[in-house]
Symmetry: C2
Subunit: 216 residues, 2 copies
């Protein structure tokens, strides 16, 4: 079985460690703060108080036996230093969170495979949700293609997907409908939309924009 390491047990690191264990994978969780280790030790396979910016201490922790290590430390300098030490210990798969574009660029230069921005991602989603009356959620799934959760307006109500022809008219795809009591995944052409139903719609950013304008 693959083993994972998580360094930094703040909100993000703790969530990664606990979710990995829930999925059945053993985790070595490290933090330089005893209290944070204490809070996590009952949910992970191994937990250890280590200052990860100290190369000997990190080496002695056994982190290099992990296939993948997540660096979840907020302080930019520490995060960069820890990623560098991991690279020198021979850890191939390193994922790190970053607080800015410049932080990401340095991490990538060191050899970090993937960089995530938990706060910026959520900031984008919240701003898009707030500025459109009918949008409950707005997720960029790949650059230029978005998934929105859209509350069906009166203009959409009482028609089925065939009549609405959203794919032909706008290039967008209704991939699921939440009718309150049940969620229909891959709705068929005959499925009728009621006002207030939750529609999950995927499309190119500009196509979603046209759709919103038409039915708002």
């Amino acid at each position: 079985k693959k083993q994972f390491g998580v360094i930094g047990l703040g909100r993000f690191g703790t969530s990664v460690a606990r979710n990995l264990e829930k999925l059945g994978y053993p985790v070595l969780a490290i933090d330089n703060n005893a209290e944070n280790v204490e809070q996590v030790k009952d949910y992970v396979s191994f937990a250890d108080i280590v200052d990860a910016t100290n190369p000997e201490a990190l080496d002695a922790s056994g982190i290099k036996n992990c296939d993948t290590v997540v660096v979840a430390v907020g302080d930019v300098e520490s995060s960069i230093l820890i990623s560098l030490i991991l690279e020198e210990l021979g850890v191939v798969n390193i994922i790190a969170k970053a607080a800015s574009d410049i932080h990401e660029r340095v991490l990538k230069k060191i050899g970090v495979k993937e960089v995530v921005f938990p706060e910026a991602d959520m900031g984008f989603r919240v701003a898009n949700k707030l500025t459109s009356a009918n949008i409950l959620d707005y997720i960029e799934i790949t650059p230029g293609v978005d998934l929105i959760e859209y509350i069906a307006t009166k203009k959409l109500s009482g028609k089925n997907l065939k009549e609405l022809a959203l794919r032909n008219r706008f290039g967008i795809n209704v991939i699921a409908i939440n009718k309150g009591n049940e969620v229909i995944v891959s709705p068929s052409a005959e499925d009728v939309i009621e006002e207030g139903a939750d529609l999950f719609i995927v499309g190119k950013t500009e196509d979603i924009y046209e759709f919103k304008k038409e039915f708002e």
Copy 2:
């Protein structure tokens, strides 16, 4: 035009404020730390140094003229106090970030409309990405229904969507294919899948699990 308030200009609050302005909506950005206000003031309509836990100071800031206010303060006690003051000032639409379930429960009791967990959300996504070789991203779009970005394996290669009949066999829907040079949204039945292509697949959690098992 709707006006928005953002209290707390850390990574999350700054991202919300800047994205709202990019979408064309004026923002009043508040923080008790002058440096954080300084960093944001060129990107927002209004910026002010205010201790938001002080009711008179918050009232004088003009935040109650905002239709929606986002509370992006990390300290749990401050976040709760600020949300309470906003509620008493008559702000109806309050969105707040939370660090734990208990924090969320208190905010909801006070009247906060929506609570987000930037770090926990990303923790879930990263853990799911890391534990499946072919999954590049894993987003829960609504409880029980997920969207995954999946690298097409050899077993899927050379066949079109009609032949694969993924909808009939597993109840899942390929909603987009990224072939590297272009992204096809709402692929047709004749679209052929090549090994290594990025597939965006939506389905119920258990159906995605069955699909992964079959094609891994």
